[in-house]
């Protein structure tokens, strides 16, 4: 058994990797917020905030709890929560290639 598997290892490893990669991509497309190795802190935060707001909207007692404390109609709190999902953690950080354009020296150095 061991010998066979050892022989097959390089092929399997490549196929496995590909399959994992594909599976991950599929999950990322299906479930928003599925992480990847380069998830930035902003992405993660934005995603958690959005999940939180949508969870509050999806659990009627939590929504009532907030509405009661704020003395606002439930429908208004619900709409506010969904609007907050638009950009809950501020604008995204500038992208690296944008940065590169902005600071050309870095590219020269490398």
């Amino acid at each position: 058994m061991e010998a066979i598997s050892a022989k097959a290892t390089p092929v399997m490893r490549f196929a496995d990797k590909l399959r994992t990669q594909q599976e991950l991509e599929r999950l990322q497309a299906k479930y928003i917020g599925t992480g990847h190795p380069d998830t930035t802190s902003w992405e993660w935060k934005t995603n958690i905030y959005r999940d939180t707001y949508s969870s509050i909207v999806g659990h009627p007692p939590l929504l009532s709890y907030l509405a009661l404390a704020q003395n606002e109609p439930v429908a208004k709190v619900r709409a506010d929560m969904i609007r907050k999902m638009l950009q809950p953690a501020g604008p995204p950080p500038p992208r690296e290639d944008d940065m590169a354009v902005a600071i050309p020296q870095t590219r020269n150095d490398s």
């Binding site: 959005r50 009627p60 007692p61 704020q70 208004k76 709409a79 950009q87 604008p91």
Partner: protein, 1211 residues
């Protein structure tokens, strides 16, 4: 295994949630009448409005063990019955049909589409069904939309297609409706917000430019395909859509509602916009814009294009919105919209859903507080209220326009006909026995704003008194009789005194009857209509039989007297003082014939019962004889075996009363029972086998300290048992759950009772209470909790009780509300016009809002009194709001108790901000009827938790736990320590141990070392719990609830507990090393359970007479539940396997897996769901048998166990 624990609880709901998150009207029974279906928490309830009696009855209420997020209904073309679609957290779409015959919901389709749970991208948040019943769309908040095509197959059965996708990445949905397009392809309209551009733009510019879009999704029925057909930008504040009738009825399209904006939109029409009128008044901010929070469209019968909208603004004002259509040359409306008009209609409490019924009623499901049923007086067609038309306003809400105003006024168009009690939001709850009855009552604070209430709840049935008349003497017993067998109503009331008998006639007036033939100078033992037209009176010396005025006397044998008698329409049984039983039967000629033999009993007979003659039989075939040797014997009365003994049952005490009576059982059929009342106050119900006369399956309940007396009465066409003890009880089968219930009546304690039936009162009860004759009727059997409420001023936050006196104190606070002092100032201003100065009653119109202001007060409540009321209130000034309260006895003041209230100034809830925090101290005066302000002490933060601790005050200020003593000018700080990670919200203490609940990080155990004056945290929680309430179960354990709807019990390990209490352990504790950034030790989880509702209070108490202590919790949605601890392992095993069988045999209606649902956040541990187990009663017989077989027990035994566990500890 997570489910094993050495602590087991049985969770039961004693009051179902009363919130309504959505209500729909439709013809669910298919018989033409309209019903209302409501979603409240995890419950689906069907209500039947009764147009004649102006009320709404509950037909069916079922826990679906899942969160109902949206409901919708649809009707297939040509059908007369509406189906219900449920969107829940099960990741499945369920189509439900109501079966009126069996009174059940039946699931027709269940289609899985995604993961379970309320997730961002799993559809379930929005649901819309095509008005012609051809398709439905189920959508998530973000991205996903699925369309299901609904159709009918050749067998006329409903079919559902596989889902068609209409997903779009990066899109948030704010509102979703189906368009009315007649019979063209179904179209759904969604209000969407696209974040994909904002996510890519680091400058933040795209976020500011993000537009709200109205998007149409068309289902092409021919191609079986969904397309994004049309989209257009709408006002960025828009948040709600309403369907506009289409086809032949109107122009189709939607109303888009946003901030001060109602706009008509459709793909082929121009936009028309009207603003939402603002309230005019001295206390109103003229700049404040309103939004629409709920509403509904109603089509009037008859002419095409006759429809209107009732839209409600955030203040509760209803506006009537109508659409004018352009007319063609012949004056018929075309499909083209000309203008939109809006006018003020009426003001009602904020509603989550409005339903207009064809019978002219409006059902308003309130967001908070009682739900209301209104009747339409008129439709505001021709009143002098100003109407605003879209002709005068630009279509762009951002363009300049003059806002419009109206004067709110009391309701004119609607009449309130019924207010349905609703406890949501239930903020705090205390169990106490203030009335001195044997069982405690529940006192709670609920509601929001000016509609807040203090409510007392008592287990009992509502009773209406018809007659309450004082009598010259004190009768010992009372009966009613008819005069002839075929009479419909009772004619006589017979009352027995010490040595007299009084006969009264029932009619328009109640008068004494002289010529009844009854002996008036003896005490009566029984009175009965017998045979065709006979009457008998049993007295200690014999029987008097009266037929058509002819009197026959049967004397008792010499030197013996009659001690007990039982009669029915054709039989009479007497027990003599010698222990002999004499039996009579009516012959066909109406004469009474004595059976030759007398049966001798071993002991003295204390009571007898015959039972009614069963329908179609000549006689009742059993006689029950109770003797003072603590036995009940069943004797046969069949002609062949007359007076032969069939069975005998030994009892724990001598029987005081017996009643053989058939009652409805859980299968819907009827079972013969022997009801036994004992001298010890216990009530027993035993099944009497109709063939063999054997007694099996005994259930018991302790009713009170006196001997129990039993009588048969009829309530709602159901034979019920009236049991008299220190209170009056009624035993009946619950109309919905089919469980046998024993509930006290909310009435005086009677000495004797009897059934009463007359023209005016078909199903009454006549009773003797001391020297009063009372006739009353029981109102209904559905609700066994009686509510009484006292209105409060603002949203209540906490309830505390005076330590000795029977008064309650509430702290109330309302955010963004104009406090009374500012209100007075505004009203005094010279420029206030006459009409503006009118103050509207806040109960109907709400308190005037003011951004950033707080209105807060402390109320003193007298919960008993004739009229429970608020005795007085203290308003807090300076934008301070009360956040916590406690009654604290200070040792330094010789144990005098003070009311301590924590406040915060200029608080902002999110993110948490404040300028100052205070602790106010009040002294009680006049036995607690008044409060005197002593002083206030400034603290760093608003203190969220206060409690008495060893004659001093324990305060949680932010992360700090602090002990204060009372000084002359302020509180004096004694000890303090930082113990919680974030914010202390709950405190509990026993001895030197303090349990601190953190708003986010769960529980920390702290020990107080009096010698070294130190507060030392020594154990905390392993996971975050967003604690809302806690109570100590014992010295080591704490039970609590969190914001996400979980209930849990945590325990400190034994070793840690003993070590910390050892003298000198402070050195060890101060130097103990932190374990993983927390306290040195961890608490262990004993039980965990998801309740769906948000627990707001929990306490350990007993609820019934002689019952064990249980955990009573209250939930925000109005739920009251109990957790009953199991004592024996056997019971645990039994209920665990029953629960398992129930999960598979009666899976939740909406397809949620029960085990996963109860373990929503953390796997359920050590708790058995009693609500699921109790559904056993409602299973069909074959399933009951099957489960019983699997459990190796009989069906009756299982039903008894289920009923026992409830009746022993709760109601």
């Amino acid at each position: 295994m997570a489910a094993t624990s050495n602590m087991f609880m049985y969770s039961l709901t004693i009051q179902a949630p009363s919130t309504i998150s959505q209500a729909l009207v439709g013809q669910f029974s298919g018989t033409g009448g309209q019903q209302i279906i409501t979603a409240s928490g995890s419950r689906l309830t069907l209500l039947q409005p009764d147009a004649k009696q102006f009320k709404v009855d509950t037909l069916l209420s079922q826990d679906i063990f899942g969160i109902i997020r949206a409901i919708s209904s649809f009707r297939l073309a040509g059908s007369h019955k509406d189906y219900i679609i449920l969107a829940t957290d099960s990741g499945r779409i369920a189509i439900i049909e109501y079966m009126p015959k069996t009174n059940r919901f039946e699931r027709i389709h269940l289609e899985t589409f995604g993961k379970s749970g309320s997730r961002r991208v799993v559809p379930g948040q929005y649901l819309a069904a095509d008005p012609r019943g051809r398709a439905c769309l189920i959508a998530s908040i973000e991205k996903n939309k699925l369309v299901y095509v609904l159709n009918r197959n050749a067998q006329a059965e409903l079919t559902i297609s596989s889902p068609l996708e209409a997903h779009k990445h990066g899109v948030l949905v704010l509102s979703l409706v189906a368009l009315d397009v007649g019979y063209s392809n179904p179209v759904f309209a969604a209000l969407e917000l696209d974040y994909s551009e904002a996510d890519l733009d680091p400058t933040g510019q795209a976020r500011g430019e993000a537009e709200t879009q109205l998007v149409y999704y068309e289902l092409d029925l021919g191609l079986n395909h969904v397309v994004r057909k049309w989209s257009d930008t709408v006002d960025p504040t828009s948040s709600m859509l309403f369907q506009v009738p289409g086809g032949n009825d109107g122009p189709s399209g939607v109303l888009v509602c946003g901030e001060e904006n109602v706009t008509y939109r459709h793909s082929n029409q121009e936009a028309f916009r009207v603003p939402i009128p603002r309230r005019r008044g001295a206390t109103e901010d003229p700049q404040r814009k309103r939004t629409i929070i709920s509403g509904m469209m109603h089509k009037l019968k008859g002419s095409a294009g006759a429809f209107f909208f009732l839209l409600q603004s955030g203040d509760g004002d209803l506006f009537k919105v109508t659409i004018d259509m352009a007319e063609d040359s012949e004056g018929n409306p075309t499909g083209e919209v000309k203008r939109l008009k809006i006018k003020y209609f009426d003001t009602i409490p904020l509603a989550t859903s409005l339903c207009i019924l064809r019978s002219g009623f409006l059902f308003a499901a309130s967001e908070f507080g009682n739900h209301h049923l209104y009747q339409f007086e008129k439709l505001a067609d021709d009143d002098d209220e100003l109407e605003f038309s879209s002709d005068e306003f630009p279509t762009d809400a951002r363009a300049l326009y003059t806002p419009v105003y109206f004067y709110p006024r009391p309701v004119e168009n609607l009449i309130l006909v019924q207010s349905m009690d609703a406890m949501n939001p239930l903020v705090d709850c205390k169990v106490a026995n203030l009335t001195g009855e044997d069982a405690p009552q529940i006192y709670s604070i609920c509601g929001s704003g000016a509609r807040s209430t203090f409510r007392s709840l008592k287990n009992g049935l509502e009773v209406t008194e018809i007659v309450g008349e004082e009598l010259p003497g004190t009768p010992s017993a009372v009966w009613t009789t008819k005069l002839a067998r075929d009479d419909e109503f009772d004619a006589y009331i017979v009352m027995s005194f010490a040595n007299a008998t009084l006969v009264l006639s029932i009619g328009e007036t109640v008068e004494e009857v002289q010529d009844s033939g009854f002996m008036s100078d003896v005490t009566t033992l029984a009175a009965q209509q017998l045979g065709e037209e006979g009457l008998i009176q049993v007295h200690p010396k014999g029987i008097r039989h009266i037929v058509k005025g002819r009197v026959n006397d049967w004397p008792a044998p010499q030197h013996r007297s009659i001690v007990a008698a039982a009669t029915n329409e054709s039989q009479v049984v007497l027990a003599l003082s010698s222990g002999e039983i004499v039996y009579f039967e009516v012959e066909s000629d109406g004469n009474l014939a004595e059976y030759d033999e007398k049966k001798e009993m071993t002991g003295t007979v204390t009571c007898l019962s015959l039972g009614k003659v069963p329908e179609g039989h000549k006689r009742s075939s059993f006689l029950a004889v109770g003797c003072d040797d603590c036995t009940v014997r069943i004797l046969s009365l069949d002609p062949e075996t007359t007076l032969e003994m069939k069975s005998v049952q030994a009892l724990t005490a001598a029987p005081s009363s017996l009643s053989i009576m058939a009652m409805e059982d859980s299968s819907g059929g009827s079972t013969l029972y022997l009801h036994i009342g004992l001298h010890s106050g216990v009530y027993l119900r035993t099944v009497l086998d109709e063939v063999t006369g054997e007694l099996t399956d005994t259930r018991q309940k302790f009713l009170g300290p006196k001997p129990t007396k039993l009588f048969q009465v009829s309530v709602q066409n159901q034979p019920c048992v009236l049991a008299l003890n220190s209170r009056t009880w009624l035993g009946y089968t619950h109309p919905l759950t089919k469980a046998f219930m024993m509930t006290p009546l909310s009435y005086q304690d009677l000495n004797h009772g009897w059934n009463f039936s007359s023209q005016e009162c078909l199903e009454g009860v006549v009773g003797i209470q001391a020297n009063f004759l009372r006739i009353f009727k029981v109102e209904g059997l559905g609700d066994n909790l009686i509510q009484k409420s006292v209105p409060l001023t603002y949203t209540p936050k906490q309830l505390v009780k005076h330590p000795e006196q029977l008064y309650f104190y509430t702290i109330e606070a309302e955010n963004n509300t104009l406090p009374p002092e500012l209100q007075a100032k505004l009203l005094e201003q010279p420029n206030v016009a006459n009409g503006d100065a009118k103050i509207l009653p806040p109960e109907e119109f709400g308190h005037p809002p003011a951004k950033g202001r707080w209105a807060s007060c402390i109320s003193i409540i007298d919960p008993l009194g004739d009229e429970p009321s608020v005795l007085s209130k203290i308003d807090l000034s300076d934008n301070e709001a009360a956040v916590s309260a406690a009654v604290v006895p200070f040792a330094s003041q010789e144990g005098e108790s003070f009311l301590v209230v924590g406040t915060g100034k200029d608080m902002v809830l999110n993110p948490r901000q404040f300028t100052e925090g205070y602790i106010h101290v009040y002294r009680f005066h006049e036995d607690g009827r008044e409060l005197e302000f002593i002083h206030k002490t400034k603290v760093e933060e608003p203190p969220m938790a206060l409690m008495p601790f060893q004659g001093r005050l324990l305060v949680g200020v932010g992360k700090t736990l602090r002990v204060y003593d009372l000084g002359l000018r302020q509180l004096l700080r004694k000890v303090q320590a930082d113990v919680a990670p974030q914010l202390i919200v709950t405190l509990q203490a026993q001895g030197n141990r303090i349990v601190v609940g953190d708003v986010q990080q769960g529980i920390t155990y702290v020990t107080f070392k009096p010698d070294s004056h130190k507060l030392l945290p020594f154990a905390d929680d392993s996971i975050n719990r967003w604690t809302t309430c806690t109570t100590m179960v014992d010295y080591d354990s704490v039970a609590g609830g969190d914001k996400f709807g979980n209930l849990w019990v945590l325990r400190c390990p034994d070793k840690v507990s003993t070590e910390t209490d050892e003298p000198g352990s402070e050195i060890h504790l101060t130097h103990a090393r932190d374990y993983l950034h927390g306290a040195p030790n961890r608490l262990s989880l004993m039980t965990h359970f998801y309740t769906q509702d948000l627990p707001t209070s929990i306490c350990k108490t007993s609820l019934v007479v002689g019952g064990q202590e249980v955990l009573v919790w209250s939930g925000l949605q109005g739920t009251i539940g109990v957790l009953i601890p199991f004592i024996s392992r056997e019971d645990v095993d039994f209920f665990q396997s029953l629960e398992n069988h129930m999960r598979s045999e009666d899976p939740p209606l909406a397809g949620r897996d029960h085990l996963i649902y109860r373990g929503y956040y953390t796997p359920v541990k050590g708790v058995i769901d009693g609500d699921l187990c109790e559904r056993y009663n409602l299973l069909p017989n074959d399933k009951k048998q099957m489960i019983a077989g699997e459990l190796d027990r009989s069906v009756r035994e299982i039903e008894r166990k289920i009923s026992d566990i409830r009746t022993r500890s709760a109601f």
